[in-house]
């Protein structure tokens, strides 16, 4: 079971509210999809600089594995106030701990409404469906 202290997007990002900020990262499923279990397959991650505004559903960064480039989509609207640039140099963190040290950006959110995102149970079903 994945952490139930956060919400999940259909494109496999997670968002965890802490006061009026939101931590955002990608799920273990997203990492597995890209890397096929081989962390050295993750080759590049491009994250934004603090100060940028992003809207829910908008791309805030990109990640490349040996065989695919994927967009990173923000599940919420807000201003980027902190960025985990360590990940850009140490992509293996994403495979080891996607839920905590693998956070990517922190947003100051304009709304704490997470309606439309999935809880852990709904996300489990979504992943099961993605696997067909």
């Amino acid at each position: 079971m994945r952490p139930d202290d956060r919400k999940y997007s259909p494109t496999h990002e997670w968002v965890k509210l802490e006061g009026d900020t939101a931590l955002i990262g990608i799920t273990d499923f997203a990492v597995q999809e890209l890397s096929n279990g081989n962390t050295s397959d993750l080759v590049y991650c491009d994250l934004p600089e603090a100060g940028r505004m992003v809207k829910a559903g908008e791309t805030f960064g990109e990640i490349e594995s040996v065989k695919a480039v994927s967009d990173l989509n923000s599940p919420v609207t807000g201003e980027v106030v902190d960025v985990n640039h360590t990940i850009e140099e140490h992509l293996e963190i994403l495979a080891k701990d996607p839920w905590n040290s693998g956070w990517m950006v922190k947003l100051k959110v304009s709304s704490k409404n997470l309606d439309g995102l999935m809880d852990a149970a709904a996300y489990e079903k979504h992943v099961a469906h993605s696997k067909h």
Binding site: T11, E62, K67, A68, V69, S70, K131
Partner: protein, 242 residues
Amino acid sequence: MAAWRLITTWAAAPDFNMGLDEALLATPGLPPTVRFYSWKPDTLSLGYFQKLADVPGHERASKLVRRITGGGAIHHVRELTFSISADLSLPLYANGVSESYARVHRAIARALAEFGVEARLRGADALRSDRPGSGMCFHHSTELDLVWDEMKGVGSAQRRKAGRVLHHGSIKLGSSALEGEIATLESRRRGLTPAAFAPALKQAFEAEFEVELEASVPEADERELAKELGPRYLDADFVRSR
């Protein structure tokens, strides 16, 4: 059986090729679309995150573009390039990137076999075509790559965006000065053209993906979007942006 579109455009301009692929990726709800194409003039495409300086000799290509798909640089000359644009929810894309590569490569291997090429996935072996430092896609291999004659002969890369996938593939009919000794179809059939290889690839895609490919042309709105998106790919700021 599901019908997918097949758009064939030989000797097309680099900005058109890249613009149309992005248009087909970016438009939600479009039916799965396969493109077969080639390039005029010959063009070197960089992988999305590649630095131009990491591809020595790039100036030998007539044109330069940066793809939106990942991977290494490809000199698009004497090859059949294809793309598949479709929703991520298709069975083709079930179970991750590696599985989807395996499916596409099985189809290509089936077409290659028609021309006497016994292609296989590389697996753990090193290849004769591996040449570190060139930045070229065909000089870097992974276990998923399709190989024959102990060399890489098919380049593949994907872009995944908002629930859709663009899969780029490059099947080498011949080599170029930038690519040197790599696996090619010309080693079996001298003078083979993309148009002469295309029917075998169409049949193989149909059999492997269990679909029917219907010859088609881009819709007017897709052409318009391609025209709007295309120029960025040739823009020096974008090409040299890394």
